[in-house]
C-alpha cells in the first residue's frame, strides 16, 4: 500500500476521510491552513489519533520529529508525501 504512488489530491482525499472518521463528522473539508483552531476537538490527543489512523491508511510510521510537525493539514500532507516518496 505504501509503495503505490499517490498524487497530492489523492492524499488530500484520503486524509479528509481520516479526519472525518476520527472526528466523526462527515462535513469536514480540509485546506492547507486547516489547523486545531478550525476543528472542534482537535487537541494534542486528537493529533495522536489522527496520526495513528493516518499511519494505518497510508502504511507509514511517523518519526518523533514528524509527529511534532502535524500542526496543520498542509504539514500533514507534506509529511505523508515525503514519506511515500521515499
Amino acid at each position: 500500500m505504501a509503495l503505490r504512488q499517490r498524487s497530492r489530491d489523492e492524499i488530500y482525499k484520503e486524509l479528509t476521510d481520516v479526519f472525518r472518521d476520527v472526528f466523526d463528522d462527515n462535513q469536514i473539508d480540509l485546506s492547507d491552513e486547516t489547523s486545531a483552531k478550525d476543528i472542534a476537538g482537535w487537541d494534542s490527543l486528537a493529533t495522536i489519533n489522527l496520526a495513528i489512523e493516518a499511519e494505518r491508511v497510508f502504511g507509514v510510521k511517523f518519526l518523533t520529529t514528524e509527529l511534532s510537525r502535524l500542526k496543520n493539514v498542509g504539514e500533514f500532507v507534506s509529511v505523508i508525501t515525503q514519506k511515500l516518496g521515499r
Partner: protein, 642 residues
C-alpha cells in the same frame, strides 16, 4: 495477537451504528444492540465511535438498565489513559457491564487516595486500577549492586504500592494492579538477565514480588508485561508516542487492552461464562465420524492433524478440571457421535467429562436452550464453539446472549482462540473481598425484552443460497464418484458407482442425471447432491425410479433436499413422466433418511412391490399433482439437462 481475532469482523459498521442511533426503540433494547455491535472485531477508532454512541444513549437512559450491571472504576496512573477509556468501556459493555470511569487529576493519585474530600473519595469506586510505568519507579541503578540490595529495593517499592492498595481497599474497592512492561533495552545483552541490577532484572524481580504480595493482600494483577510480549513489545511501547503524549501503550492496541480490563471487571462481578458448548466433527476430531467411520477420523498420534485435535481436547479437559462445564451439541446420530468416546485411543475427553451430551438433527439453537435449561444456567453464561460458520451465524442470530467464538481456520489455533477470548476469566478473591464489592451491587432483574425473535426461516433466507443444477458431465465426474462413494448418512440407496460408471450414465439416453452445487453468503459449498433417475421397466417412461439420491452432510437442515425434489420433478415432467418411484435401502449409517420420502410427500407402496429385504421401503409420488415445496434457495440451470 494484537486484535480481537476471536470476534467476527463487521462489514457494515457505520450503517449498523447509525441504525441503532436513529431507532426509536426502548433504551434497554438499543443498549442490547450496542452490546451486540461491541461483540465484533472493532479497531481503535471504531471502539471510540461505539463509546460515543454509548454515552449518548446513557445520557437519556435511567440507570440501572435491566440486563446490565453498573460498575464504577477508578484508574490511577501516571501516564495518559484517556485514549484507552473508550476501549475499556466497550470491553466491559461486551460483557454486560456499564462502567463509569474516574481518572482524577493527572499524576495526583497519591493525594487523591489520602484526601478524604477528593474527587476519588466522592466517586466511591467499586474497582481501582493502578497503572504505573517503569520510569516512575526509582531504584539505584548501580550495575554493581548486589542481589541482596536489589531485593531490598524491590521490597521497598512493593511496600509503597501495598500502602496505596490499602487506601483503595478502605474505600471499599477491589484493587487491580497492572504489572510493569519490561522494556527491551539491554546494557550487556543476554547477560542482563543474570546481572541483578540491570533494569531488566530489577523490573522482573519487581513483577515477581508483586505476584507474591498481591496474593497476600487480595489484589488482582493485570499482566501487562505478558500481554505486550505476546503482541510484540516494540510495537506496544512506541517511544515517539511516549515522548509526545506520555502514552505508555500505543493506542492501536487499546481494543485488546480494554478487553482484558473488561473481562477482569466482568469476572469481579461474576459475569464470566460458565459453560462451553462444543461441536464434534472437525472440532474435537478431524473429519466426520458418521461419514468416514471411526477408523478414518483424525485424532491422536500418527499425524500432525490428529495430534492437534488431541491437544485441543487436553486443553478442554484442563478447562473442565478448573470448573468450566463442557457440553456437546452435534448434528449427528447419537450412535455415531458416541463411537469415538467408546473406542478411540486418541480421545482425551471421556463421556463423563460432559455435563450434557446432545447429538441429533435438530437445529442447534433449540439444543443449546435445552442444555441451558438442564444445567439451570442462563444463555449469557454459555460459549459456543463450532467449526461451521453457518452454525455460528445461526446461533448469533437466534441466541444473541450466547457468546460465539470465531473458530480459527487452523485447528492448531483452537485452544489459543478459547484462551485469548477470555470468556472464562476468573478472579481468585476471598469471600470478604467479594462482599465488599457486592454491597454496592444493584441487582438488576433481567426482564423479557420485547425483541423480535429471529426465526430459522429468516436465517435460511439470510443465507442467500444459490443452487446450480446440471446433468453429469466430464469435469464433475470425479467429484460425483467421490460423493457417491463417501456419502453414508443422506444416501437413500447407497449405490457405489465408479467414475467410469458415472460417465457411462452421463452418456446413456434413458438415464437422467443431476448434480447440484450450492453457494451461500459464507462461500461456495461446491457439489453437494447427486440424483440419478432411470425408467421403471415396462412403464414406457411414465414412471421413473430414483436410482440414487444423496447429499453431503455439510448442507443438512437447509431445505436443499426440498429444492432438489422441485428441480427433478420439473425436469421429469418435461420428459413426460407422471410418477417417481423412490426406494430406501437401509444401511448401518443411513437411519437419518428412513422417513425421507414420507417427508417429501411420497406414499408408501412396497406391500405391492413385494421386495423382501428387511427395513427396505418403496415409495411413489404423483408428478401431476406435485406442488413445489417453498424453499429459500434460488436454483438455476448451468446447462440444458440431458
Amino acid at each position: 495477537m494484537n486484535e480481537l481475532y476471536w470476534l467476527p469482523r463487521i462489514a457494515n459498521f457505520g450503517s449498523s451504528l447509525e441504525a441503532i442511533g436513529e431507532s426509536k426503540e426502548a433504551p434497554a433494547l438499543k443498549l442490547r444492540k450496542l452490546r451486540g455491535l461491541a461483540n465484533h472485531r472493532l479497531d481503535f477508532n471504531q471502539s471510540a465511535k461505539v463509546d460515543r454512541a454509548l454515552a449518548a444513549l446513557l445520557a437519556q437512559t435511567e440507570i440501572p438498565v435491566s440486563g446490565f450491571t453498573p460498575l464504577k472504576v477508578a484508574i490511577l496512573c501516571s501516564s495518559t489513559i484517556e485514549p484507552f477509556l473508550p476501549s475499556i468501556r466497550i470491553g466491559a459493555l461486551r460483557r454486560g457491564l456499564l462502567i463509569e470511569c474516574y481518572t482524577g487529576a493527572y499524576n495526583q493519585y497519591r493525594q487523591e487516595l489520602l484526601d478524604a474530600s477528593s474527587g476519588l473519595h466522592r466517586f466511591k469506586p467499586d474497582v481501582v486500577i493502578f497503572s504505573f510505568h517503569p520510569g516512575e519507579i526509582r531504584w539505584a541503578l548501580d550495575l554493581k549492586a548486589s542481589a541482596v540490595k536489589i531485593t531490598q529495593q524491590v521490597a521497598d517499592v512493593i511496600e509503597d504500592w501495598a500502602g496505596l492498595w490499602n487506601c483503595a481497599q478502605q474505600l471499599g474497592a477491589v484493587v487491580i494492579q497492572q504489572n510493569i512492561m519490561i522494556p527491551g533495552l539491554r546494557v550487556f545483552g543476554q547477560l542482563d538477565t543474570i546481572k541483578p541490577a540491570t533494569a531488566m532484572s530489577f523490573l522482573a524481580e519487581l513483577n515477581r514480588a508483586l505476584r507474591v504480595k498481591s496474593a497476600e493482600q487480595g489484589v488482582l494483577v493485570l499482566d501487562l508485561d505478558d500481554l505486550a510480549a505476546q503482541g510484540g513489545k516494540s510495537a506496544w511501547f512506541d517511544p515517539a508516542l511516549w515522548h509526545h503524549a506520555q502514552l505508555a501503550i500505543s493506542p492501536v492496541f487499546a481494543p485488546l487492552f480494554g478487553d482484558h480490563v473488561g473481562r477482569m471487571l466482568a469476572a469481579i462481578r461474576g459475569l464470566s461464562q460458565k459453560c462451553l458448548v462444543l461441536d464434534l466433527d472437525n472440532t474435537l476430531w478431524g473429519g466426520v465420524v458418521g461419514e468416514e467411520g471411526l477408523e478414518s477420523i483424525e485424532l491422536g498420534p500418527g499425524s500432525a492433524a490428529g495430534e492437534i485435535f488431541s491437544g485441543f481436547q487436553e486443553y478442554l479437559k484442563s478447562l473442565k478440571e478448573r470448573g468450566i462445564l463442557l457440553a456437546v451439541c452435534s448434528k449427528n446420530e447419537m450412535r455415531a457421535a458416541m463411537l469415538p468416546f467408546q473406542g478411540h485411543p486418541g480421545m482425551k475427553l471421556r463421556l463423563e467429562d460432559f455435563a450434557v451430551f446432545i447429538a441429533n438433527w435438530k437445529d442447534k439453537a433449540s439444543n443449546i436452550r435445552q442444555i441451558a435449561a438442564r444445567l439451570n444456567i442462563g444463555l449469557e453464561a454459555m460459549v459456543f464453539f463450532d467449526d461451521n460458520p453457518a452454525e455460528r451465524g445461526w446461533i448469533r442470530e437466534a441466541l444473541p446472549d450466547v457468546l460465539v467464538l470465531e473458530a480459527p481456520e487452523d485447528p492448531a489455533r483452537y485452544a489459543d482462540a478459547l484462551s485469548d477470548s477470555g470468556y472464562f476469566e476468573a478472579v481468585n478473591l476471598t469471600e470478604e473481598d467479594l462482599q465488599r464489592v457486592n454491597q454496592y451491587a444493584a441487582q438488576t432483574q433481567r426482564e423479557a425484552l420485547k425483541e423480535k425473535t429471529p426465526t430459522l426461516d429468516g436465517f435460511l433466507q439470510g443465507l442467500g443460497m444459490q443452487m446450480t443444477v446440471s446433468s453429469f458431465d466430464g469435469p464433475g465426474a470425479a467429484r460425483i464418484a467421490q460423493l457417491m462413494n463417501k456419502t453414508n448418512q443422506f444416501n437413500l440407496t447407497t449405490r457405489r458407482y465408479t467414475e467410469a460408471q458415472v460417465l457411462q450414465r452421463a452418456r446413456a439416453n434413458d438415464v437422467t442425471t443431476f448434480q447440484f452445487r450450492l453457494k451461500d453468503v459464507y462461500g461456495d459449498c461446491g457439489m453437494i447432491s447427486v440424483v440419478i433417475l432411470t425408467p421403471v421397466q415396462s412403464s414406457g417412461g411414465q414412471e421413473l425410479l430414483i436410482d440414487a439420491w444423496l447429499m453431503s452432510c455439510r448442507v443438512f437442515g437447509r431445505q436443499v433436499e426440498f429444492e432438489v425434489l422441485n428441480q427433478i420433478v420439473e425436469q421429469a415432467r418435461k420428459l413426460g413422466a407422471h410418477f417417481f418411484r423412490g426406494e430406501y435401502i437401509p444401511t448401518e449409517k443411513n437411519g437419518l433418511v428412513r422417513e425421507h420420502y414420507q417427508r417429501m410427500g411420497f406414499a408408501r407402496v412396497d406391500e405391492a412391490d413385494g421386495a423382501g429385504q428387511a427395513g427396505r421401503s418403496v415409495w411413489r409420488l404423483s408428478l401431476d399433482s406435485y406442488r413445489p415445496h417453498h424453499t429459500h434457495i434460488r436454483a438455476r440451470h448451468s446447462s440444458e439437462i440431458a
